[in-house]
């Protein structure tokens, strides 16, 4: 049995499957608790259902993208470990980078044919260590941090003035989106030499088609009879944007 075959053996599936199943169970528990608490607080169940439906449709396409990450990593790390990493805690852009860095520290590369059992277990350990901090910070400081923010909100609530919190969230999101769109513009203009205008234009085209599609879906969903469209507008816009990338490269 080669190392790659061992990495995709039943035992490896069992080890990883147990953890994936545990996290799935945690998600179900949190969901049921939140649903019950929402009902107890008198929240409209239709709105809660709408939030769940929108989140489900929203997540399908990015999840298929993440599946491609599993396929990409399976050539060097077998299937079960990338499956676990990208189902739980991992991030698509992070996993390959860290796995590659660990392989380099062991004097090798992230290639299936050069993978050894020792290299694999070290890579797997480093992948876990590098990304655990968000979970640790939330565990140690999450409660205090949220309590502090909540006190700030309560103080403002008493003053009868509109809160800045929501505007800050929207602004943070605008900043986040701008950083990504700015990177696509910069990559196109100077990606293949300063101001050469010969860089990769596909991300820019995809973002543009996706934004235009979103504009159309938003306009349609604002009509009373087509309000249902709102739950699917982002997923459908993404699909059209991604289709534009395929057509542009035919």
């Amino acid at each position: 049995m080669t190392v790659l075959e061992q990495l995709s053996s039943g035992t490896m599936y069992l080890i990883c499957g147990v953890i994936v199943a545990f996290v799935a169970m945690v998600c179900v528990i949190f969901m049921v608790r939140a649903w019950r608490a929402g009902k107890a607080l008198g929240m409209d169940t239709t709105r809660m259902k709408q939030a769940v439906t929108a989140s489900v449709t929203f997540s399908i396409l990015p999840s298929v993208g993440i599946l491609l990450g599993v396929i990409a990593l399976s050539g060097s790390l077998g299937i079960p470990w990338p499956w676990l990493r990208l189902s739980v805690i991992g991030a698509l852009h992070y996993e390959t980078q860290v796995a590659q860095a660990a392989a380099e520290q062991l004097g090798g590369t992230l290639r299936g044919e050069s993978m050894t059992a020792g290299a694999f277990s070290t890579i797997a350990f480093l992948m876990s260590v590098c990304i655990m901090w968000g979970m640790i910070f939330t565990t140690l400081f999450g409660k205090k941090y949220l309590a502090r923010l909540s006190r700030g909100n309560e103080n403002k609530a008493g003053s009868d003035k509109p809160s800045f919190g929501d505007k800050a969230m929207t602004a943070m999101f605008i900043g986040m989106v701008s950083a990504y769109l700015g990177s696509y513009i910069g990559a196109y203009i100077s990606g293949a030499g300063a101001f050469a205008l010969k860089g990769d234009w596909t991300p820019l085209l995809v973002a543009l088609v996706s934004a235009l599609s979103m504009a159309c879906f938003t306009a349609l969903s604002e009509k009373k009879s087509m309000r249902w469209l709102d739950s699917f507008s982002i997923a459908a816009s993404m699909l059209l944007g991604m289709a534009a990338a395929v057509i542009a490269h035919l």
């Binding site: 800050a168 989106v177 596909t202």
Partner: protein, 227 residues
């Protein structure tokens, strides 16, 4: 003597959420750190801790700083339940955060409210379960799916999932305040044009871009409050 304050049902829910969140985070952490050793035992080769330490110094420190920023920025957006779940299940920027913001906006929940807490938790839990299900099905069908998903014609589509997501989100958020959006967009476009190597650090550029947008939004808020 310690006095027991009267708790509302929502406060009880929050307290229990923190307790549960901390417990499951620690269990998940133990499972993830323990798994390489269990697998190492099965494969007959334990992790090389010295090499892992060198690797951590090479890439891990950057991710640690990034985790601090993610914790500070995203926790207020997600609330208690959403934060624990999101940090356990990962894929924050490319999926969980936009997903929760979308659900929150759809329902019209305000940040810091009980409604926001519930909706974020429902949204992140639903999103995580979809990923777990899609990946489990994908892994089951990996052999028949590999030629389809791996076909060269479809590669541009899957290489551009993030631009597709941010394009759609851009329309959704830019229309709320076009003037505010233009400033960080132009500044970021100029920065990335002058220093294209920054593209590899886009997730870090969110910090100055977000800070700029929040600063401008605050100035506008103050101006409107005085008017």
């Amino acid at each position: 003597m310690k006095q027991n304050k009267a708790q509302t049902p929502y406060e009880d829910y929050l307290r229990a959420t923190h307790r549960l969140g901390r417990a499951v985070s620690m269990i998940t952490l133990a499972l993830l750190l323990g798994a390489p050793f269990v697998m190492g035992g099965y494969l007959g080769a334990m992790p090389n801790l010295a090499a892992a330490a060198r690797g951590f110094l090479a890439v891990g420190l950057v991710w640690t700083v990034s985790s601090v920023v993610e914790f500070l920025v995203y926790t207020p957006m997600l609330g208690a339940g959403g934060s624990y779940l999101a940090f356990i299940t990962g894929n924050l920027i490319n999926m969980k955060i936009p997903c929760a913001m979308n659900a929150r906006d759809m329902v019209g929940a305000k940040s810091g409210t009980a409604e926001n807490e519930i909706i974020s938790t429902l949204s992140i839990a639903a999103s995580s379960l979809v990923t777990i299900l899609v990946l489990a099905l994908g892994v089951l069908l990996l052999t028949p799916l590999r030629p389809v998903l791996g076909s060269p014609a479809l590669q541009p589509a899957f290489a551009n999932v993030v631009p597709a997501l941010f394009g759609a989100m851009a329309y959704k958020y830019y229309r709320k305040d076009v003037k505010l959006a233009l400033v960080p967009l132009i500044i970021m476009a100029v920065l990335f044009t002058l220093a294209p190597s920054l593209t590899g650090s886009t997730s870090f550029m969110i910090i100055p871009s977000g800070a700029l947008a929040i600063g401008l939004s605050y100035l506008k808020f103050r101006r409107e409050a005085k008017a």
